[in-house]
């Protein structure tokens, strides 16, 4: 597909992005989809049209605090919740460690977390923490790509019965240098 020719193509790119994004997309995010400059007014017009295209379909395009997202219409919720009946017992180690890093080192980017843990951050991990409303985006680091900066929320403190981060267990750890052959 060649870049941006007609309205239908532009709308399709937006639809594909919105249907596959784990998080709501802001107008800034959406302008980044296109190599050519995209006016915010054009974007808003396209989003309006897209919203109308989906008017009678399974998803609705809604605007929330951090941007736009597709969500299943309320009438499907009774069906969808049957898919995940069992409650989640425990967070994985990846989730807990990511949370700990964000709590102790905030504000951090995904890259920072990857550097500390030595493995790639699974998008699902960030999603779980954001859906729990324990972690959110507080800004962007001004480096190429403007990666999001994550921090813990007030809600996280509430849930852990803390008044401030300073009440987290302070950490003092001595770790011997461990020469590892990176083969």
């Amino acid at each position: 597909m060649s870049e941006t020719n007609n309205i239908a193509d532009l709308k399709n790119v937006l639809e594909a992005a919105l249907l596959t994004s784990h998080e709501p997309l802001s107008l800034d995010d959406m302008t980044r989809l296109f190599a050519e400059r995209m006016e915010r007014a054009t974007l808003r017009m396209l989003l309006d049209e897209l919203k109308q295209d989906w008017e009678t379909r399974t998803m609705e395009l809604v605007q929330v605090a951090t941007g736009y997202r597709f969500q299943a219409r309320a009438e499907y919720t009774p069906f969808l919740i049957r898919l995940n009946p069992e409650k989640q017992a425990k967070y994985s180690r990846a989730v807990m460690e990511t949370l700990a890093i964000i709590a102790y080192k905030q504000p951090v980017t995904r890259g920072d977390i990857e550097e500390i843990r030595g493995v790639a951050v699974n998008p699902n991990v960030m999603r779980q923490l954001q859906e729990r409303d324990w972690v959110d985006v507080v800004g962007q680091r001004e480096v190429p790509g403007r990666p999001s900066l994550y921090a813990t929320t007030k809600h996280f403190l509430d849930d852990l019965n803390l008044r401030s981060l300073a009440e987290l267990p302070p950490m003092e750890e001595f770790v011997q240098q461990n020469p590892q052959l990176d083969l």
């Binding site: 594909a16 249907l19 596959t20 994004s21 784990h22 998803m59 997202r69 597709f70 969500q71 299943a72 309320a74 919720t77 919740i81 409650k87 989640q88 425990k90 180690r93 807990m96 460690e97 949370l99 700990a100 890093i101 709590a103 102790y104 080192k105 905030q106 504000p107 500390i116 843990r117 030595g118 998008p123 859906e131 729990r132 507080v138 800004g139 962007q140 680091r141 001004e142 900066l149 921090a151 813990t152 849930d159 852990l160 803390l162 401030s164 981060l165 300073a166 987290l168 267990p169 302070p170 950490m171 003092e172 750890e173 001595f174 770790v175 240098q177 461990n178 020469p179 052959l181 083969l183």
Partner: protein, 260 residues
Amino acid sequence: MIETPLNAKIKGEAFTELPQDLYIPPDALEVYLESFEGPLDLLLYLIRKHNLDILDIPMADLTRQYMIYVEKMQAIKLELAGDYLLMSAMLIEIKSRFLLPKPAEVESEDDPRAELVRRLMEYEAIKLAAQRIDDLPKVGEDISVASAYYRHISEIKPPEVSLDDLAEAWRNVLKRASHYQHHKIGRAELSVREHMSIILRRLKADKLLEFSELFDIVHDGIPKLVVCFLAILELAREGLLRMTQQAPFSPIYVQINSHE
């Protein structure tokens, strides 16, 4: 480099000079050697570069060229994995078995190279397979999976997390992060980090604030004001804040550093 001229024959052709690509500038050598995944990878490289027949490997040449690399690795004190030395021993052993006269009764002995050839071929097949797998489109890279939202009804109880769980997770992170030789996060630093997040959130909402608005002089005690100030300095140091002042003694304005 190598002083002694080579006196080798490959496929019947005299081979008196090291091929060009065997020469590597000394400073680049370390990086270069690290690009090999081990002795088999290095051997395969030598075999392919010199067009040797993998089914009829000239052991003397291969061993010599392999040893040149291993010696260079040792010369620059590159941490040399024992695997490379083990392979040297194996190559020399195979070579020597060719030199020894064979007693008549074991004449039907297998080619001493057979095991090496088998391993090289198996490794090369895996190397290519790995490349092919790497080239396949993958979820998260080239494949984007539908992931629209639906309103969860909170009958699904989220997992319980205690402070101990969190501390445990953090200890695990530190245990593994080998570059943390000495890691220490005290309460003071945490307060600063927390204030950094708080300030970023406020600036996201208000866009532009006067410096003094960031401090609640009436309610916050001195320690908190200091922490807040340190947080602003840290944010500025990390390039996350922009502070502007039109003229000396005029108000200082703080905003999120952005390109716009």
